[in-house]
Symmetry: C2
Subunit: 325 residues, 2 copies
């Protein structure tokens, strides 16, 4: 049976994976907002370094989740959430609620930050919740025009309410991995998806904050500045240590492809200069994912009595920066 997939938030990231899911044989419906008119008329103009250039026409395009729900009485097998994670503005659970069929629809959250799954998993306890980390460079340069320039890999894991490691993966994780892989996406299953999210945070939070707060916006300019490089390194090490305490040495670094602060810095130096996505939001005056990248991490650490003074301070400064953008 052709899986029915609803992509909520079809910006750059959503469009890329929607396209690959359709290529894999999925029946793909997309919720579009700012690019709705362009996409309904002309589809997405995809320009991918790895999949080539093409016009991608989703099977259906909707302006809202309610529209998508009304149009599909049989319900969706998957809802892929690719919106920016802004829990202080939009509740993902509220957003997808109309289209959720109990005990059937699996939610796949392809979003940044930590702690994003909890509100969704609590609201829909009978539905599978799959957490997914994207390692990808993709931008919407104009409405419906998607430039995919780097990677595309996805790491999946089931969201586990009690936080324990998954020794076995539920069928839902395997089936979405199989589907995405058929579409050409390099997929992996995380030994411990939360630990992997914190590992990504090791880069995202310090580089993002340093970029926004110091005005040295791109990765090379930051690392070439002695003080900024020190600031980044110390914040990375704080997150790394907190994650080690939080997940235990068996899960962090653990057996997976977790990369240390030093390895991340070396890799960042070796790659082309790059502005973190949160910086792009800041300079555009768009809302930044401060709560899921900083706030949730700080709150989670505090709950467990793990000190993160540097991240706390960066969180407060990023909140202030967010008020000014």
């Amino acid at each position: 049976m052709q899986p029915r997939i609803l992509v909520v938030g079809t910006g750059a990231v959503g469009a890329l994976y929607a396209w690959r899911l359709q290529a894999a044989g999925g029946h793909v419906s997309c919720i579009c907002r700012s690019n709705y008119e362009q996409v309904t008329k002309n589809g997405f103009d995809m320009r991918s370094f790895s999949f080539g250039n093409a016009i991608f026409r989703p099977d259906r395009v909707f302006a809202s989740v309610q529209e998508a729900t009304d149009a599909e009485p049989a319900g969706y097998h998957y809802i892929i959430v690719c919106t920016k994670a802004l829990p202080e503005r939009v509740s993902t659970a509220d957003l997808i609620a109309p289209a959720m069929t109990e005990s059937k629809t699996a939610v796949v959250l392809i979003q940044n930050g930590v702690g994003i799954e909890q509100p969704v998993a609590e609201r829909f306890p009978q539905n599978p919740c799959v957490s997914c980390i994207a390692y990808v460079g993709v931008t919407q340069t104009a409405p419906g025009v998607i430039e995919h320039v780097l990677l595309g890999d996805l790491t999946f894991g089931p969201y586990n309410r009690d936080g324990a490691t998954e020794q076995t993966r539920p069928a839902d994780v395997d089936s979405i991995i199989k589907l995405m892989s058929s579409g050409g996406i390099k997929c992996s299953a995380a030994h411990h998806i939360q630990a992997m999210r914190w590992n990504k945070l090791t880069w995202n939070a310090p580089f993002g904050a340093a970029s926004v707060l110091t005005g040295l916006h791109d990765t090379h300019t930051m690392l070439d500045n002695t003080e900024c490089a020190k600031l980044i390194k110390e914040a990375m090490e704080e997150i790394w240590q907190a994650a080690t305490m939080m997940f235990g040495p068996e899960n962090f670094p653990g057996p997976g492809p977790v990369t240390s602060p030093m390895a991340q810095i070396t890799r960042t130096r070796a790659a082309a200069a790059y502005k973190p996505s949160i910086t792009v939001d800041y300079t555009n005056g768009s809302p930044m994912e401060v709560e899921v990248i900083f706030g949730n991490a700080v709150r989670e650490a505090k709950k467990r009595g793990i000190p993160m003074p540097r991240l706390e301070l960066l969180y407060l400064m990023m909140r202030i920066a967010g008020q000014r953008s």
Copy 2:
């Protein structure tokens, strides 16, 4: 005998205390730079909320310490240093060296920050070194025009190379206190001058950094912002705790007029909105006293194994801000 006093750095702070020392009967020579021409011609136009308005003509005005040295073969009893403390640019010890008479001239450092005395005391081990903290609101609004709007109190203590508390005060501290008091300045002798400098740092570093880095420049705007108030409070508490570890409960808070972070915040809320002096320097593109307010504190704490992660991070960000101003 009329004490011969040389004031090095006769900006707002230097002019105010030079004026009061002359009023107390001192023979006062001033080193002027940007205001040299104006002051040699017309003296200082003093406008003080507590001492009234007057023209203050120093006994002599010089453009350099060498000039002042050549003009006074008998030497100076006191050198009062009121320059901005920028050890990375100007060494105070080098600056005053020509005018120092061994075993005679007492140096009085009326400057911000911590650790400012050490290089002077090491260079001139035979000369008394008096450390002094000014609690004052005074500005030079135009060359030679000095507006004194708040307080003026001075706290004195001998610089003690081994860092121990002074149970007895050397004659030099008493004599400069006597002189300043004759000029109408409210003076006190600190139980432990280093502890008092760290107490002032409890305010200066967090308010200064928050003001420069968040762009919420004045004290009320900062405290009215929930996140900024939290940032300031947490940084203040970190410095307070470090000072307690550093000086021991017998000296910090100790018996003196040390004020807690909460009391300082309450007092700041109650006072008129105010921009920290480091912010004024930042917005003017002038060099900021980052090393003596942040750098020396961070280094001193690190040397003693006392963690100050927030202050370290603020130090790095202030250094970056300093490169951009």
